[in-house]
Symmetry: C2
Subunit: 554 residues, 2 copies
């Protein structure tokens, strides 16, 4: 008879920064009772996922073992931790637990998805505990770039796991609880089997700086700016938005929040009591009538998102407001790798308008993640039997494991889909489950491997030729007809590409044997081959070819 075991299975977040979803289990192999920590999204890009709206973890494993799943715990309200709750909860339908601010936003997501928001249960911080099957889970406050972030203390008959969630060690984070070492020592005290730990900033060598250090710098910048000041940061960084707004207020400026996400987040923070006081704000309508030098806008779009307020302002008027020469635009943020080009476009657009842009300046931004020395500090405080790095690309996880090992701790890289047994003296991966990605494409969920997005990429790279042929029995009826999309109209022969394609395809049809003409697959194959070859000769490129074949009754 096999023994109970404690397992860890990341379905997302271990091999990427985004789409967090971590499974823990306790029980006999294959019968473990399960809990899920976080259920987030990641964002598409044109290179690999054109046209996709959102990317979510593949939770097939949970669906196939749905009777074993006890509950979902959400550590904090960032989209990469809570973003998939609305869309995927209906496939799981187990209780969701979170602290007030996070839970409030998770409830809004369930509502948006037409689900009952009361499925999200609000719980208090440690020492309060939630029982979920064999697990007892407590939310342990920690500082991050969003209010009310929590690590989880997960107790099971197989031992205690400490799951950090996203964190930084900030004694003065502005909004939300500060890093409280004594609390963490107390709550995680005793034997900790595994520390499952944020790896994002493992390559940043210096200890993290505090949010508190930004206040005077931002105030100085806003005060000395001669005209309108516009600042952007992540909407969810309530502490930063507050710091910016207070700087505006201190400089005698009216403050206006632009962008739906930002207003929603501040409302949630006020409603849940996270923020006790927030400077008075004016509406965009009122802002239009305020002299520029007395106005400060705080806007969404720090990553250059096309539809957010900063991109709109870069293109011209937005809600009646626009940038002008001498204005100041502050990116109180860091550009996430991959977003450099879209942020760059905005910087250049503002530059053309004569706006003074302040970007990528450490005086006005601190990271929400623990740097390398802070990770070592966390290892020391929790003092676990082993460290399992999470929340990182493979290179972050590997570096984090090496860091732990260099300090004499056991550590193991466990990637998405790898099921690790944490029971024995040495953690090890015992099996692999399907854990790819699912795309929200329009309103439809499609698999990353379905080939749909691959086909779209091919269309973008190669263009599209449509060949239309009508047959009556084994006789072509008239000439083939070609349409092109995304291809040059004229090729090397200086004739119309369509004409040359129609000519070559027509020649083939005239000569083709009845056997080929009667066989749909053979005929399509030949037509595709000829169209590609002709295009290659004419324009130096093999397009995607779709053959539309119509057979009329003879």
């Amino acid at each position: 008879m096999s023994k109970n075991r404690l397992i860890y299975l990341p379905l997302g977040g271990a091999g990427e920064i985004g789409m967090n979803a971590y499974v823990y289990g306790w029980g006999k192999p294959g019968e473990e009772r399960l809990i899920l920590v976080d259920l987030g999204v990641t964002f598409p890009d044109m290179d690999t996922t054109p046209g996709v709206n959102l990317i979510m973890p593949d939770i097939s494993f949970l669906k196939e073992n749905i009777d074993r799943l006890e509950a979902i715990f959400i550590t904090h309200a960032h989209e990469d931790h809570v973003g998939a709750v609305g869309r995927l909860w209906p496939e799981l339908k187990v209780p969701v637990y979170a602290r007030a601010f996070t839970g409030h936003l998770a409830q809004l997501k369930l509502e948006d998805a037409g689900q009952d928001p009361s499925n999200v249960e609000i719980v208090g911080a440690w020492p309060e505990k939630v029982e979920a099957g064999p697990f007892k889970v407590a939310f342990l406050p920690i500082s991050h770039s969003i209010p009310e972030s929590a690590g989880l203390v997960i107790d099971s008959p197989g031992g205690r796991i400490v799951h950090t969630g996203d964190f930084k060690l900030d004694p003065a984070p502005g909004v939300g609880e500060p890093w409280d070492e004594a609390l963490w020592r107390e709550a995680t005290g005793g034997r900790v089997r595994a520390l499952v730990c944020d790896s994002t900033n493992v390559f940043s060598p210096h200890p993290g700086r505090s949010e508190a250090g930004l206040k005077s710098e931002i105030e100085a910048l806003v005060t000395k700016a001669p005209h309108m000041v516009v600042a952007t940061t992540f909407a969810s960084n309530v502490a930063r938005v507050k710091t910016l707004a207070e700087a505006g207020q201190a400089a005698g400026r009216s403050v206006c929040l632009l962008g739906r996400a930002m207003r929603r987040m501040i409302e949630a923070a006020v409603k849940t009591g996270i923020v006790e006081s927030f400077p008075a704000t004016v509406t965009p309508e009122d802002a239009r009538d305020i002299p520029r030098e007395s106005l400060m806008l705080i806007v969404t779009g720090s990553q250059g998102e096309r539809r957010a307020a900063s991109a709109q302002l870069a293109r011209g008027k937005y809600l009646g407001l626009e940038m002008a020469e001498g204005d100041t635009f502050l990116f109180s943020s860091k550009t996430i790798p991959g977003n450099e080009r879209s942020v760059g476009r905005i910087l250049n657009a503002f530059s053309e308008m004569g706006v003074d842009v302040v970007a990528e300046d450490d005086r006005y931004h601190v990271s929400g993640h623990a740097n390398r020395p802070d990770l070592e500090k966390m290892h020391a405080v929790v003092d676990p039997e082993f460290v399992i790095p999470m929340h990182g690309e493979h290179r972050h996880l590997r570096e984090h494991a090496k860091l732990a090992q260099a300090n004499g701790r056991q550590s193991l890289v466990v990637v998405n889909g790898a099921l690790a047994d944490l029971t024995g003296p040495v953690p090890h991966v015992v099996e692999h489950v399907e854990a790819d990605r699912v795309y929200l494409d329009g309103d439809i969920l499609i698999g990353a491997l379905d080939g749909i997005v691959r086909d779209r990429i091919r269309l973008a790279l190669n263009g599209h030729v449509i060949v239309n042929v009508i047959l009556e029995g084994d006789e072509p009826l008239g000439d083939p007809w070609v349409e092109i999309v995304g291809l040059p109209e004229t090729g090397k022969s200086r004739a119309s590409l369509i004409d040359v394609l129609e000519e070559d395809l027509g020649q083939f049809l005239m000569r083709a044997k009845g056997k080929t003409l009667r066989d749909d697959d053979a005929l399509e194959g030949e037509l595709v081959k000829i169209a590609k070859k002709t295009a290659l000769d004419e324009i130096g490129r093999k397009p995607e070819v779709t053959v539309v074949m119509s057979r009329l009754e003879p």
Copy 2:
């Protein structure tokens, strides 16, 4: 009668980093004799230019005024300065002047394009001068990340212009001439009308470091590496390739160069006498038999280019060589903004193999461009009447102009297509000419505004529906037929998307009036509208729709 004037007209490079092409002219307005400095390319990306092979400046202005163009001068052999010579020279057919190394590579480009390489004339450095119409042009050696870079001293009856080309102030660049302040003072002495100056690193606050400082760091790294070492840098950075190879040699390793561009560049350097000694290298075939700890590969692909050697090694075997656990991979380079994701994919692939990757580490890389204090130094050495920033995005040009102005110098931002008159006491833009971009797409040159690439982007974002209808007179012959590419097969109704589209389109056709059915445009418009609406209902997305309409003789 209008007076002669001295003009400056960037056609590329002023508003982007890449695609350099700068026109100077002297003469009566509209009749100026012209010279072109540099003729480079820039590289496509999936966001804005999927499927495009290369991006080049639109030289319509030069073609329309071809009888006024005297010559082309190439400052150095980077692709963004010389890359379009092969493709565009046939449209200009004027002499090309360059120094030996640059000229050798430009000649290869003409050969590759089937043109006579002798149209590139090799000239010596200052004080040698080339006469081109009213201009006398001298190549003034300067340090950069490729050998034999030159600034240009351009003398005209309207005064002297100093065009820096790309540069850094490096007293010990390894290969190629060091920064020689005395030479520059002498050659640019006297009254300089305008300094047209590289702006790339205007946001880098500290003075640039020397290539010489890397040698001992790289040697230390290569020496202590326990297994195989692989290093990548730009192939054209001959000095760096040499430093890397010498480090391998010093560590007792056999050195193997991987990647065609790298071998070609080193061959050119040896052939033109730029490099006197280069460590002996082994072929990839021989490298396979050498113990890993005695081997060093120097490979192409520092920017994550899909087909370059480093990406191939990240995917598996390349020319019989492959990475293994414990190997070291050094990026002796900086990731260019926009390439973070492709470089990241390689870093993570190596991490999965257990390879130790060293990247974005200043100890192993210095920039080829002058930093902010170096730019101020250049301004001071040349001491021009005004500074015109070039080689930068708009924000770099603007910042560079502000820097010059802060030091009491006149400065003007002149962007692509802006024609500046440099004759009077204050430079000013007098007109704008067409100066967009041209894409090499397959083998065909297409305009950036032709809509071809825009159509491909739409296909990638929206997918493609093809509607096929056959009519006989005003009677539909059979049902409409739909094909989809890049779209989910099943929609919200759980029925096949194709079936639902065919059903809705068929319903419409049955009810449609003869007048609509006889009118191609009206019918197509209706079919597109219905297909988009049905798709929006079913899958939440409006696809691109192509209607293929066949009319048979009644």
